[in-house]
Amino acid sequence: MIAGQSPRWTWTENPDGKKRTIEEAKEIARMHGVHIPDDVDFFEDDELPDYMTARGPKVTKPAGSIVFWSDLVNTITGKVPFLVRPDILKSDEAIVAVFGHEMYELEALRGILKKGKTPIEHFIGHTSPGIPGNFHEEAWDYADDLVERMRKGGKK
């Protein structure tokens, strides 16, 4: 079993133990309703800590500074990078949940960061665990719904 930090479900590993590639994982996520924009990239990263299923960009600024969308982008690729823990790729349920969670959170952030009024403290508050009602929590609710639908055999 693979468990994330705060989702409601415990994700089941693929019966054959098959580990997906990132490209396969993106396709699986899309098949189950996750919208992955063209300006986002995913990478497998074996250096992520055990408690973290995936991670978006690091942002570091002086207190009170505004976070901009461009702070999340790698200027070589023009994309926002997400790093994924390798064992997530051994469970299609985990893939759908984790990719769904990250994309929900990112799209919510896109909406506010493009206005250019979000200080770093609020940015962190939106994406940290343990803060009721923030984007992070909403994103796990969304991810849980995706997995529930997946288990019911529902299509996207």
């Binding site: 990239d41 002086p62 790698n74």
Partner: protein, 91 residues
């Protein structure tokens, strides 16, 4: 296999600022060039911008390491010199 920060950056795995912050955290204030000279030239202006904005004890990050003030100060001096040398070179 562990990839270097620069490799991760060039592959698109981390952002420009992520590369800057983690590289600054690695430098020896007595020899900042050891780390900074390995960075792509295009990153150096971003290093300079970060260290100019750096406020000791008032930096905030969403995760991971943070450079210390002596690292930021050493980097600023090294990068300013490096950028001056680049600017004075004939095209």
């Amino acid at each position: 296999m562990t990839r270097s920060l620069v490799e991760k950056y060039q592959m698109g795995m981390i952002t420009d600022d992520h590369l800057v912050v983690e590289s600054l955290h690695m430098i020896d204030p007595d020899n900042p060039g050891l780390v900074l000279s390995a960075l792509p030239d295009k990153i150096l202006p971003r290093v300079l911008r970060f260290v100019k904005d750096y406020l000791d004890g008032r930096m905030v990050t969403n995760f991971g390491v943070m450079p210390a003030q002596d690292q930021a100060l050493a980097a600023r001096a090294w990068v300013e010199t490096a950028l001056q040398h680049m600017a004075s070179k004939p095209a």
